[in-house]
Subunit: 145 residues, 2 copies
DNA sequence: CTTTCTGCAAACGATTTGCAGCAGC
DNA sequence: GCTGCTGCAAATCGTTTGCAGAAAG
């Protein structure tokens, strides 16, 4: 997705919540958009000087409520990524040794069978599925040696 | 799994780490084993009187390191369940409205396609998969109305 | 007896919030 | 001007840890 389009899309999501696309929010969206994996708050802060920690926290809440950003907690602290509407559906590779998390683009074959078989089982117990999360836990290339 | 067998299995896991199956640990294992969904610390504390919060936290760490208990963080705080070795592989139904999490037994069909297709994609980027986590996010029976 | 477990209370650290100043409309 | 955003510092809250007594071997 081109940057211009990304900014426009986020701006639209924010406006729907009576929120603006401020400079700080633009920076956060750019940082997340430039990464191929979910980032922690310290990682976001480290990319640019002049970002206040509390502002990043606060804006991530706003961006998450607007549906532009997704929060995920796997280890000891939270990580953030652009919402799948903006980046496309994907899964995560979680390294059980070093905690690193990478993105793995979804494969159509898996998606289809997951949706079909699991949604059916879920519906049987009265659960209406909105979306799913699939994480693979194992050793990343570095930790596997 | 019969209770006797469960206790024996957990005791064996603990002994492998030079740890004992103490009364508090037995209680925790029983509480988790009696539940069909992962429990929070407050929920565990509420089931029995006389449990000290710090002891529960400390013993859950020990039980997790021994491989008897699994910790998962989805919302604002952690939840615990018996390890899949003891309960069998399953997925989670996460209610996006009330935060409730229920277990969903794994279906052989999905497992097979997930393992095959996703593991292959992961291996292509140098990742060696140990296991996977599949959560369905949506509305539980109560919240769907 | 020595080592481990327990419970209390204090410490910790990631995240949240109150407040005063600044920017946008 | 009024309303919302920012940054600082203080508060919050789930979780961890130090310590002294109790329990297990």
């Amino acid at each position: 997705m081109a940057d211009g389009t990304l900014h426009e899309t986020v701006a639209r999501l924010l406006h729907a919540q009576q929120q603006r696309l401020t400079p700080t929010r633009t920076v956060i969206v750019d940082v997340l958009g430039a990464s191929d994996r979910p980032l922690t708050i310290p990682e976001i802060l480290a990319t640019r000087d002049g970002l206040a920690q509390s502002s990043v926290y606060r804006n991530l809440v706003v961006l998450e409520q607007a549906g532009a950003v997704h929060r995920l907690v796997t280890g000891d602290f939270a990580r953030y990524e652009l919402a799948e509407d903006l980046t496309g559906h994907h899964h995560h590779l979680v390294c059980s040794n070093c905690g690193r998390i990478d993105d793995l683009p979804a494969t159509p074959a898996v998606e289809k069978s997951v949706q079909a078989a699991v949604d059916q089982a879920a519906a049987a117990v009265g659960f209406s599925t909105q979306h799913h999360r699939l994480d693979l836990v194992g050793l990343c290339a570095d930790c596997a040696n």
